[in-house]
Amino acid sequence: MNGVLDWFGDSANWHGPDGVPVLLGQHLLLTFASVLIALVVGLPLALWLGHRHRGGLLVINLTNIGRAVPIIALLSLFSLTVLGTGTLGPFGRAGLATLVTLALFALPPIVTGAYTAVVGVDGDVVEAARGMGMGEVAVLRRVELPLAAPLIISGIRLAVVQVWATATIAALVSGPGLGNIITYGYANNQTAIVVSGSLIVAVSALVLEVTFLVLAKVVDPGRRSGA
């Protein structure tokens, strides 16, 4: 494992366009951009469905489909369509396909989290709010949303962590980010590089997860999220 230590010690791996900081930046940008897209598309829909207590089956199926479809398959399929033509700024070759694929993988946790959160709000509280003359939008915004917030946030956390992991796999097909260190290592038969890249990917994923857990405790110390 000396090769791994050498790799980490080699300053060439920490500078330049293929250096770890640049790849890490790409990975962060890709992850947060796709989660943002999924939020814009999925959150309003999930909140409204939850408010109306409808579409539970749709939400469950979304999760099941998301679990069954391999990222490699979806990304490869999209890359062969219009989405895969050309590069998209920092998202690289087939950037749009990568972004859309990852956004789709961010949807299930976000939608499920928000839907179950709003559905789970105590019916008596909602009834009382309606009795006080609140309109539907006001009930959602001023009663259901604040009560559902912790679960909604934990769904978003799950989405970020999942997309972070999925974005690594995206490097198998196309796309920027930390996964490229690993695929580069395989392509050149350099186990040391493969292991080094994997360590960076694994540690960064754990750091991301722990950061979120700490953040959740700081923001909402009274409650301990179960998810």
Binding site: A68, A73, A202
Partner: protein
């Protein structure tokens, strides 16, 4: 570009759906059915082996965690930490020890299913109502008989839904094994990412496999818990 004169299969000559690179191509299925079958068999074997491995480790681990409460936090924490590691990295970290191929993929996937299965078993056992346990104890059930005759049947629905999640996830994650040249249908997708008919066939078969295995497990669950159909009114409270 230098024109390639490597002798290809005769099907690549002339105008057909393979040379036109069409999404749906009968000629592809005609000429590559053997390749498809090999990939599918490899995929199924990998999934079954990894879920089985996960089960063999998860069951004693969950029972230990339940018996010794201090262990529970450690077991759940450790398996969750493994789950956080992206599959590409996990497989790759195993390579220096287990090499390329079947072993690495099965161990990697087994570790992932471990997380889901341990939780499912613990959740299932925790959902057994205390008064049911109390009655069984009152009837003279010892710990082993209690586990087999009372707790396991009642924990079965939660356990089976965990097993379904683990299996379906394993089908999708097996494709990542293509980095080790052992990804079943994933190998077909990665082999040539411009070959439309093959990418589509690999993807569709992969999803179909996930659905098929899920259906098998649903049927199995129904057979194992015949009382559930009769007692749909007593819905379990989801915590």
């Amino acid at each position: 570009m230098v024109p390639q004169f490597a002798p290809p299969l005769d099907v690549t000559f002339g105008d057909n759906c393979l040379t036109r690179n069409e999404w749906i191509c009968g000629k592809y299925y005609e000429t590559r059915s053997e390749e498809l079958q090999t990939a599918l068999v490899q995929h199924v074997e990998t999934v079954l082996a990894s879920v089985l491995l996960g089960l063999v480790i998860a069951i004693p681990l969950a029972l230990l965690a339940r018996r010794y409460r201090t262990l529970e936090g450690i077991v759940v924490g450790a398996t969750t930490a493994i789950y956080t590691i992206p599959s590409l990295a996990l497989f790759s970290l195993l390579v220096p020890y287990t090499g390329f191929g079947l072993r690495t993929v099965v161990i990697g996937l087994g570790l992932y299913s471990l997380t889901i299965l341990v939780r499912a078993i613990l959740d299932g056992l925790a959902a057994v109502p205390a008064d049911v346990r109390e009655s069984a104890r009152g009837m003279g059930y010892g710990p082993a008989r209690m586990l087999w005759r009372v707790e396991v049947p009642l924990a079965l629905p939660a356990f089976m839904s965990g097993l379904r999640v683990a299996t379906v996830s394993a089908v999708a994650l097996t494709t990542v094994g293509s980095i080790l040249d052992y990804g079943g249908l994933g190998d077909l997708i990665i082999e040539d990412s411009t070959f439309k008919a093959q990418v589509l066939a690999g993807s569709v078969l992969c999803v179909a496999l996930a659905v098929a295995l899920d259906v098998v497990l649903v049927v199995l669950q129904r057979l194992l818990t015949p009382w559930a159909r009769a007692g749909r009114r007593t819905k379990a409270v989801v915590g």
